[in-house]
Amino acid sequence: MDRRLFLKALTGTACSAAAHPLMTTVTLAGSNGAAPLGDHRLVVVILRGAMDGLDLVRPSGDPLLAAYRPNLVAIPGPDLTGYFSLNPRLSGLMPMWRAGQLGFVQATSTPYRNQRSHFEGQDILEAGTGLDLPDGRVRDGWLNRMLQAVPGLTSQTAFAVGGEAAPLLQGAAPVSNWQPDLRLDLSAQSRLLLDHIYHDDALFREAATEAVSLTESMDSTRMSDGTAPPPSDDRRLADTTRLIDFAADRLREDTRIAAFSLSGWDTHRNQTGSITLPLRRLEHMVLRLQDRLGAEVWGKTLLLAMTEFGRTVAENGTKGTDHGTGGAMLLAGGALKGGRVMGPWPGLDEAALYQRRDLMPTSDVRAWAAWAMRGLYGLDRSLLETAVFPGLSLGDDPGLLA
């Protein structure tokens, strides 16, 4: 059977992909007692633009690194394993690393090869379907297909947060989308009058009620703890703060899955400067999430940050890097057995590189996500290898969870 059709059959989108609502109408939180997914939280972050994995987790133990990228390694970062070191802009994560709540995967990628297009790379990363992608209609993402396998979910179980579409959460399973920037500042009178004019139209009534309750809950959490952004926070991190706070507040309640994206990783020139802000946002995101979730929920949380592909091993003529293949992944959370750089290391010898230019991928990024979902939610291996990531072979258990 054609794999594409197979996938459609599984996801029930065979006849009416176009008729599927982007999301279902809303059931308010708290309407179901026991969350069907259990207590674990999964946060998936898509790092858009191809994050340079070799700059995130530097193989400083190999003298070739400085030869390939003299400008990029000028400022050393804290040691991780004796061979790998962390980008100095992420030094704030070291306590988390030492606590075993931060880890990395090196030399990983989707099955996408050769073309190195952001557009296709992100499509493949989020669809999780391997190389069968050019069909833009099977656009449910792997995270949504995972949800489709779990009965009894409400739309509050999973949240796609932020203005950028999160295709990995799109699909037939109920999911909520929200942009923390959306405000609904209504006078009491307007609210009353809107209630009145929506009264007889269930579709409008439910959507508007949910919109009001979401914005109200955001405002009230903000007021209750008077959260001014922490002193180190500047305006450029404020967006990230709002995103994380919104996600964290949902995750503390009935929400089990949150997804959003962080962009700005396409560092073709002056990378040492241009990667600074995205790295600071990444660091801030992880620390803020830990802080905002509180010890108990953080202890049940796993965050995966992944990107469409890595970047060239050698820096280019403008002190940046170009689109490559093998990349890195960041994992964090109290549920993680961290303090490790995972994945077979292919080395930097020219002969070991992919097409003599990129880090050779030694693992499939989907397999790490699959093991994470298996560990957190006990999903069947066969389900993961067919419905969620069709055609994937999971391989050996990396033991991601603490």
Binding site: H20, P134, Q189
Partner: protein, 453 residues
């Protein structure tokens, strides 16, 4: 039968108030549609003739930038950015023109049909320099064919660079063609599949048909001067699609296949249903769908005959508003109700146009020319009337009109003008009770009856 003007405005146009000289009975609406496309000249859009050269320049500058070092590379980069910025400005102007046409058109039906067909043949820019391609395709391959045969529109679309680039036809090679063998390149089935699945049949084909169609389409590509058929890329030999063999590695063979697909009964049924779903209801009256299908088949896919049947079928004029206005429709209807014209939109600077129109439209779930896939925008009201979508619509309705129009219209008068007899008792009760004009206007525009059609 004589349908009422309000229904005509909501179902087949962009709402009330109707522009001057707007036809409201089916015969007059059809006559206007067969007349000249006045809006295309009043608010002109981009043409391929203006885009081909800068796009080729951008491509060659990018190549220079990648191949060279230092000052030469920097110069190429700077000129590339400039060229792409100009193309993006063209695309932004095209977006304004699309709003302006919808606002000004006396025959709203032409604009609504253009939107329907542009969505049926969805294209999305795949790179920044391609930003204006979808608009060019609308003007060159959709609007001139609204009253032609479907086969003619199909053939124009399938040879337009917007489609050939979007669905990867430009990187599809016959594996045994001269170029394919020399460069080790092969088939890309993307366009072939969507041609069968989305653009024509809607189902009932096999993977073999897709592969054969893809082989038949090889040769069709975009050259330096525009769309072309390059026999050196075409897979040699005959291809068989749905049991018919197409001989000859020529454009003519491709066009014959497109004619056959257009004439296929499955195509008639597929598109007849889509029309009914788009204009009337997600679960349309089967009698209406059947009538449209027979009109299509009896006329050989003559779009005038099909549109005529749509406008004259009783089920197309039934009561009720089963559909939700998509964000574009909502914004056009709001701007029209507030009294803005096409030239008001054309005069807006880029910043305000983005902040007050395009960004809110994206927040409502419809980023400009970026539908989630080649099947275009969803039709179900539930896809649009979401918490996020409603928060964005309500916020826009309450906040933006005051920045566009001074003074704001009296809310009760606005309600009468924009909704006519469709305004509900509940809205009549609520609008006069709003605390101020701004919120009163917001209530009208955020009301279910204004957001449905």
């Amino acid at each position: 039968m004589t349908p009422d003007p309000t229904s005509a405005a909501f179902r087949f146009g962009y709402g009330l108030p109707l522009p001057a000289k707007a036809p409201t009975d089916p015969a007059a609406m059809l006559a206007a549609l067969r007349g000249p496309d006045v809006m295309a000249t009043t608010h002109p859009g981009p043409r391929m003739a203006d885009l081909t050269e800068p796009m080729a320049l951008a491509a060659s500058l990018l190549k220079t930038h990648r191949r060279t070092q230092g000052a030469e590379a920097e110069a190429a980069r700077a000129q590339y950015r400039q060229t792409v910025a100009a193309l993006q400005t063209t695309a932004l102007n095209a977006a304004k023109a699309t709003f302006a046409r919808a606002l000004d058109a006396p025959d709203g039906l032409r604009e609504r049909l253009s939107w329907f067909w542009a969505d049926h043949f969805t294209t999305v820019p795949r790179s920044r320099d391609a930003a204006a391609l979808p608009a060019a395709m609308v003007d060159e391959a959709i609007r001139p064919y609204l009253t032609a045969r479907f086969a003619d529109m199909l053939k124009a679309v399938m040879q337009h660079p917007a489609m050939l680039i979007y669905l990867d036809q430009t990187i599809s090679f016959g594996p045994n063609s001269r170029v394919g063998l020399r460069r080790g390149k092969g088939l890309n089935e993307n366009l072939a599949r969507e041609l069968l699945e989305l653009h024509t049949l809607g189902g009932g084909y096999t993977q073999t048909d897709v592969t054969q169609m893809a082989e038949l389409l090889t040769g069709l590509t975009v050259g330096k001067k525009g769309p072309t058929f390059d026999a050196r890329r075409a897979e040699p030999g005959a291809e068989t699609v749905l049991g018919t063999a197409y001989e000859g590695d020529t454009l003519d063979a491709v066009l014959r296949a497109l004619d056959d697909l257009a004439a296929h009964p499955a195509t008639a049924a597929h598109i007849a249903r889509k029309l009914a779903v788009h204009f009337v209801a997600n679960d349309p009256d089967p009698g209406l769908v059947n009538a449209l299908t027979s009109a299509w088949q009896d006329s050989g896919g003559d779009l005038v005959a099909v549109t005529d049947r749509l406008l004259t079928h009783p089920a197309a004029w039934n009561a009720g508003q089963a559909k939700a206005r998509q964000p574009f429709d909502f914004l056009v209807a709001s701007l029209r109700a507030l009294g803005l014209t096409g030239s008001d939109v054309q005069r807006m600077a880029e910043g305000p146009f983005r902040r007050m129109i395009l960004q809110p439209m994206a927040a409502m779930g419809q980023p400009w020319q970026a539908p989630p896939g080649p099947d275009g925008w969803p039709e179900a009201p539930e896809a649009w009337i979401t918490p996020e979508g409603m928060a964005s619509r309500i916020t826009w309705a309450m906040e933006v009109p005051g920045r566009l129009v001074t003074p704001l219209p009296d809310p009760t008068a606005l309600m009468a003008r924009a909704l006519g007899p469709n305004a509900s008792d509940r809205l009549h009760w609520a609008v006069p009770r709003s605390e101020n004009i701004r919120e009163g206007v917001g209530l009208v525009l955020a009301s279910p009856e204004f957001n449905r059609r």
